[in-house]
C-alpha cells in the first residue's frame, strides 16, 4: 500500500500557531500521525531558576495569553503547598472570580473558532461579540485584557470594589441570556450534528492511556475536576457541578464547554454575593521560602495545570516543572485522528482546544493587489514607527 504524507504545519492550520503534524494517509483516510513541536519553545522552566520567587508569578503568566491566570494560580498553589500556608478568605474568592472569568472568555473564544473552522462564520462573529464585554470587565478588574497580574504568593494583588461588582453582575446577566441562545442553536443544528457527532471519538481507555484532562476527559465520561477533587481557592465553599458527557466525540466536547459556561457564571455570582459590602485582607505576606518541595494544581479552562517547585532556601526555585493541559491532551490525536478523513482532522485537532504559543508573523490581505502576503514582526514594528513619524509631522 502506498501512503501519502500530508504535512499540517509548522503553522497550525487553524490557530495559526507553530506546531507540526505529519499525516500518513491512504486516499482520504488518515492511517498514522506524527507530532513535532518546539517551534516556539522559550525555556521557561529554566528561566524560572534565574528569577526571584515573586517574579516567577509574572513569568508563568506569559506561558499563554489565554491561560494567563491559570499558571500563576497553580504556581502560587505549589509555593503555598511548600510553605504550608493558607490565604485570606477574600483573596480566595477573588482568585475564583478571575479564574472563572478566564474560563468563560476562553470557552467562548473556542466556540467562535470552532464555528469558523466549520464554515459557520455567523457563530464566530456572534460569539466573539459576546466575549468582548468579558475582556472589558477583565480590564476593569485587573487593569489588563490579558496578563492580569492578579495573583501573588499568599493572596492577590488587587481588591474588587462594590461598583465593579455591580458592573460585573450586569455583564454576566446579559451573557447568560446570550449563552442560552447559543447553546440551543448549537445543540439543535442538524448540520453541526452531522459534522461533529461520532467524529474523533475518545474512549475512557484512551483518556487513561494518555492522561488527558479537562473538557476532553469529561466529554468521554471521565469525571475529573481538580476544583472538586482537590479544592483550592473558594471552590469548596460554593455550590456548582462538574459537567460530563459520555460519547467522547467533538460534539460532546463542545457541549461540555458550553454548559461549563453556565456553571462559571453561577460560581462568579455566588462569589460576588459573598464579597459584596464587605472588607477584608487580601494578602498574607510571605518573606522567606524555606527548603522543600511543593505541588500545585489548578483546573484551567483546558484541564489540569500542574506545577512542581523545589526550594533550597535561596531566593529562586532550583527546579520548577510545569505541565500545561495541552501536553497530555494533544497526544490523544493518535487515537482520535486515525481512521478519520483529512477534512475532519482539522476540527478533531481543534476539539482538544490545543494551545501552543503566539506566532511571530501575521498574514495580511492587500486590498489593492488582492494578494495575501506574510509580514514579519520587524516590518510591523517599522510600520508602526512610520505611523508615529507621520503623526508627528502633521
Amino acid at each position: 500500500m502506498k501512503k501519502i504524507i500530508v504535512p499540517l504545519g509548522p503553522d497550525h492550520p487553524l490557530f495559526e500557531e507553530p506546531e507540526f503534524f505529519i499525516l500518513h494517509c491512504d486516499g482520504e483516510n488518515v492511517v498514522d500521525v506524527e507530532w513535532q513541536a518546539g517551534y516556539n519553545h522559550r525555556g521557561i522552566e529554566k528561566i524560572s531558576e534565574t528569577k526571584h520567587w515573586d517574579q516567577v508569578t509574572f513569568l508563568v503568566e506569559r506561558i499563554c495569553g489565554i491561560c494567563s491566570n491559570s499558571h500563576p494560580v497553580a504556581y502560587a498553589n505549589a509555593v503555598e503547598n511548600l510553605l504550608g500556608i493558607d490565604i485570606p478568605e477574600r483573596a480566595k474568592y477573588i482568585r475564583t472570580i478571575i479564574s472563572e472569568m478566564e474560563r468563560l472568555h476562553s470557552h467562548l473564544l473556542w466556540a467562535g473558532l470552532a464555528g469558523h473552522f466549520l464554515g459557520y462564520n455567523t457563530v464566530f462573529m456572534w460569539v466573539w461579540k459576546y466575549r468582548e464585554p468579558l475582556l472589558d470587565m477583565m480590564e476593569m478588574l485587573t487593569g489588563n485584557r490579558n496578563n492580569y497580574s492578579m495573583i501573588k504568593i499568599g493572596g492577590v494583588r488587587r481588591d474588587i470594589n462594590d461598583e465593579q461588582i455591580k458592573a460585573l453582575r450586569k455583564t454576566l446577566d446579559t451573557l447568560k441570556t446570550q449563552n442560552e441562545m447559543l447553546t440551543k442553536v448549537v445543540l439543535d443544528d442538524p448540520v453541526l450534528q452531522a459534522r461533529l457527532v461520532n467524529v474523533g471519538v475518545l474512549t475512557k481507555k484512551d483518556i487513561k492511556d494518555y492522561g488527558a484532562v479537562g473538557p476532553v476527559a469529561r466529554a468521554s465520561g471521565v469525571d475529573i475536576d481538580v476544583r472538586r477533587d482537590n479544592p483550592y481557592a473558594a471552590y469548596s465553599f460554593i455550590d456548582w457541578k462538574v459537567i460530563t458527557r459520555e460519547n467522547g466525540d467533538v460534539f460532546d466536547k463542545a457541549v461540555v464547554r458550553l454548559l461549563e459556561c453556565f456553571e462559571s457564571i453561577k460560581i462568579i455570582q455566588q462569589c460576588l454575593d459573598r464579597i459584596e459590602n464587605k472588607k477584608g485582607e487580601i494578602l498574607n505576606e510571605v518573606k522567606e521560602i524555606p527548603p522543600g518541595e511543593g505541588i500545585g494544581r489548578h483546573e484551567a479552562l483546558r484541564g489540569e495545570v500542574f506545577h512542581y517547585v523545589r526550594s533550597d532556601g535561596t531566593s529562586s526555585p532550583i527546579r520548577h516543572k510545569i505541565r500545561a493541559p495541552s501536553y497530555v491532551n494533544v497526544p490523544t490525536f493518535k487515537k482520535s485522528c486515525i481512521g478519520q478523513t483529512i477534512s475532519d482532522v482539522a476540527i478533531i485537532l481543534a476539539g482538544v482546544d490545543p494551545c501552543y504559543c503566539c506566532t511571530e508573523r501575521v498574514s495580511v490581505y492587500d486590498a489593492n493587489t488582492r494578494k495575501k502576503k506574510n509580514v514579519t514582526w520587524t516590518e510591523i514594528v517599522r510600520k508602526s514607527q512610520e505611523k508615529t513619524k507621520k503623526l508627528k509631522k502633521s
Binding site: A37, H41, E45, D209, Y210, G292, F306, R319, K321, P331
Partner: protein, 140 residues
C-alpha cells in the same frame, strides 16, 4: 482503607522512604530497578491517573519524579528514583503508559537521562541537528 495504608500494603518492601510533607501529597522513594513494577501497581492495579514526570539535576545525582493523581481522594502520589550521575538511565514506562512518550523524549534531550526500551527516543522539542551531548537544562 486510607490511601497511604493501601499504598504501603501494595508496594510492600519496595518502599525505601515514605513522605507526607503536606495534606494530600505523598512522595515515595523507590529503587530505580523497581520502577516499572511500582508504576504498574499504582497506574493499573490502583487505577491512578498519569500526570507527568519531572527530571531534576542534583549536585550528586539525577532524580526522576513520576507524578500520579488519585482523583477520588484528591491526592498526588510522586514516585521518586535516583539515577547515577555519570550514566543516568532508567526503564521507560511507555509500555505501560503510552502518553508518557513525550515527556521521556523531552527529559532525554534536556537532561540526557536515557530511557531504556523507549522505541522512539528522538528529539521532540529541540531540532534534529542539536549537538549530541549538549543538555540545556542541566546545571552548569
Amino acid at each position: 482503607m486510607k490511601l497511604n495504608v493501601l499504598l504501603k500494603e501494595n508496594l510492600g518492601n519496595m518502599v525505601k522512604k515514605f513522605e507526607e510533607p503536606a495534606d494530600k501529597r505523598i512522595y515515595i522513594t523507590i529503587d530505580r530497578n523497581n520502577l516499572l513494577k511500582c508504576a504498574e501497581i499504582i497506574f493499573k492495579n490502583l487505577d491512578a491517573r498519569y500526570v507527568i514526570a519531572s527530571g531534576i539535576h542534583n549536585e550528586n545525582n539525577f532524580e526522576m519524579l513520576y507524578h500520579f493523581s488519585f482523583d477520588k481522594d484528591g491526592v498526588i502520589v510522586s514516585l521518586r528514583v535516583y539515577l547515577d550521575k555519570e550514566k543516568p538511565e532508567v526503564e521507560s514506562l511507555v509500555s505501560l503508559i503510552p502518553g508518557i512518550e513525550y515527556i521521556e523524549r523531552e527529559t532525554w534531550e534536556f537532561f540526557g537521562i536515557k530511557f531504556l526500551n523507549n522505541p522512539n527516543l528522538k528529539h521532540f522539542l529541540l531540532p534534529e541537528d542539536w549537538p549530541e551531548g549538549d543538555y540545556p537544562v542541566r546545571k552548569k
